[in-house]
């Protein structure tokens, strides 16, 4: 009984360690002081004003949202198609393709970043939206493919046989049976792709330019330069978006 109690206390402490520290940034965003201190001595919305009145901060938020949306579209389209393609392959090529598509997950991000930065410099792509979308798509693609592949694997083949037996053609089967049944996997992959792009820092640091800069890159720069509570406003916005995405993912899974 005693051992059980110790275990519960330990696990509760670890859970608290995982969740509570993240919330530390929120009160800082509502500080009235000009420096970062927790807890703030007095409260205000001045740093929220500073964030939204500063065109350059606002632009990074818009850029991040734009890049995340484009990344989601590209990786969902290419990833879903690839998952269907893989399911039509022989087991041997399946293993090979899965290994290939998982490649970016296994390579350290800094290596990917330096490789893409060097390539981007050679082709004049550094500091373009296209370069960032391609880089983020590379990171998001494995998760979309796996998500869709899992729904495809669990698809009951008898539904397709039934539809075919009832006289439906292959296009109609795809539209009315296969697609609706794998769509939760596609939605889950899409949400994850959006967050992967919106959260990404390392590749973005290397591929951003003066005109195209994502919110995390601006936060990263500002932490090392000014370190004022406006950083906490940016971080709180990122936290908020991540929580919305996690909730949406939860809802889509429960449906």
């Amino acid at each position: 009984m005693n051992g059980r109690f110790t275990l519960n206390i330990f696990v509760a402490l670890v859970a608290a360690f995982l969740v509570f520290p993240i919330l530390a940034i929120v009160p800082v965003a509502f500080s009235a002081q000009s420096f970062i201190r927790l807890p703030p001595e007095s409260w205000s919305l001045r740093w929220w004003g500073a964030f939204f009145q500063d065109a350059s901060w606002k632009l990074t938020l818009v850029t991040s949202l734009k890049i995340a949306t484009l990344t989601t579209c590209v990786s969902v389209l290419a990833g879903t198609a690839a998952a269907f393609g893989i399911s039509r392959c022989s087991p041997r090529s399946r293993t090979l393709l899965t290994g290939l598509f998982l490649g970016p997950v296994m390579v350290p991000t800094i290596v990917l970043a330096v490789a893409m930065y060097s390539m981007g410099r050679a082709t004049g792509m550094v500091g373009t939206i296209t370069a960032l979308v391609i880089a983020h798509t590379m990171l998001a693609l494995p998760f979309v493919i796996l998500n869709v592949a899992v729904s495809l694997d669990s698809l009951d083949q008898r539904f397709i046989l039934a539809a075919s037996g009832l006289g439906a053609g292959s296009v109609r089967i795809f539209r009315t049976v296969t697609f609706p049944l794998v769509s939760p996997g596609i939605v889950g992959g899409g949400i994850f792709a959006f967050v992967t792009s919106f959260d990404e820092v390392v590749l973005s640091i290397f591929l951003s330019g003066p005109n195209v800069k994502t919110l995390p890159v601006r936060i990263w720069e500002e932490i090392r330069l000014e370190y004022t509570p406006v950083v906490a406003v940016g971080a709180t916005l990122m936290l908020l978006l991540a929580l919305i995405a996690a909730t949406m993912n939860r809802i889509s899974k429960n449906k």
Partner: protein, 280 residues
């Protein structure tokens, strides 16, 4: 006729993803390897420069040491959490699982910034330590090995919990009851039943955390001091400060080979797809 059109559709479905992977991953990595051999002073000049450099040796050792320590801590701390997930009631299970999964959604940058706020000289952790009498006056908790370790552990723990939970949840509960019913002590049951049956999960968790910690960049760069330089920070300085591409590429290739070595060794006992499945 039928077979060719089947092949054609499969190729058409796969080609967009393969094209993206080619321009973003395969070609850039291939170029990086070539650049690492492109020093004007000879094919292997960049590599020999690195191997003779004392700083590189120190940083490499530093990175591996941090990775090993953080991996060990993560596995030891995460195991009881994974075990608890298989034991608690349904309601607590949902809450605990949410605590483990939620951090995965939040950017490493945001989480690292939170630790900067918490650990600074006038921050809440120092205040707590002083007011409880553990410390006489606030000390610098940031920019050392410990702050890097805490920040990394915070990011890596979920990656350690999930594979071990996946392994533990498959263990037949009757085996544990049988062991206890036959008079084995808790320790014996753990050592002779639970531990051997969850070894695969432990191996997967250790591989994840070790692989990820080898390439950590943001956390050590913000929470670490000059003494906790990691390989990724060194590569960044080769590119950004010294503009030495052969050197940066050679160091990247070494990090890449180290990562692939870890994957190759672990592939013998864990499934490749579990690397990414953890996110679901």
């Amino acid at each position: 006729m039928k077979i060719t059109s089947h092949r054609f559709l499969t190729t058409a479905l796969l080609s967009p993803a393969i094209l993206i992977l080619a321009v973003s991953f395969l070609v850039p990595l291939g170029r990086l390897v070539l650049i690492s051999f492109s020093s004007p002073k000879g094919l292997f000049y960049a590599y020999s420069q690195l191997f003779e450099d004392e700083i590189f040796a120190t940083v490499f050792l530093n990175t591996t040491t941090i990775a090993i320590v953080v991996t060990l801590l993560a596995v030891v701390i995460a195991y009881p959490v994974a075990f608890a997930l298989t034991k608690v009631s349904k309601g607590w299970h949902a809450i605990l699982l949410a605590c483990v999964l939620l951090p995965l959604w939040i950017s490493v940058l945001v989480r690292t910034f939170a630790w900067m706020v918490l650990l600074e000289r006038n921050g809440p952790v120092n205040t707590l330590l002083v007011s409880s009498g553990i410390l006489e006056k606030p000390i610098s908790l940031l920019f050392n090995h410990a702050s890097v370790g805490i920040g990394m552990l915070h990011v890596l723990l979920p990656y350690a919990v999930l594979p071990m939970y996946a392994a533990l949840v498959q263990i037949e509960p009757n085996l544990l009851r049988a062991s206890e019913g036959l008079g084995a002590s808790r320790t014996t049951t753990f050592l002779k039943v639970l531990l051997p049956l969850s070894l695969k999960g432990i191996a997967t968790a250790a591989t994840f955390t070790f692989l990820l910690s080898l390439g950590f960049f943001v956390t050590p760069a913000l929470l670490g001091g000059a003494s906790s330089l990691t390989l990724s920070m060194l590569i960044d300085s080769f590119v950004s400060d010294r503009l030495n591409w052969p050197l940066a590429s050679a160091a990247s290739v070494i990090l890449l080979v180290a990562a692939l070595l870890v994957v190759a060794i672990s592939k013998r006992f864990i499934a490749l797809t579990s690397f990414a499945r953890v996110h679901q």
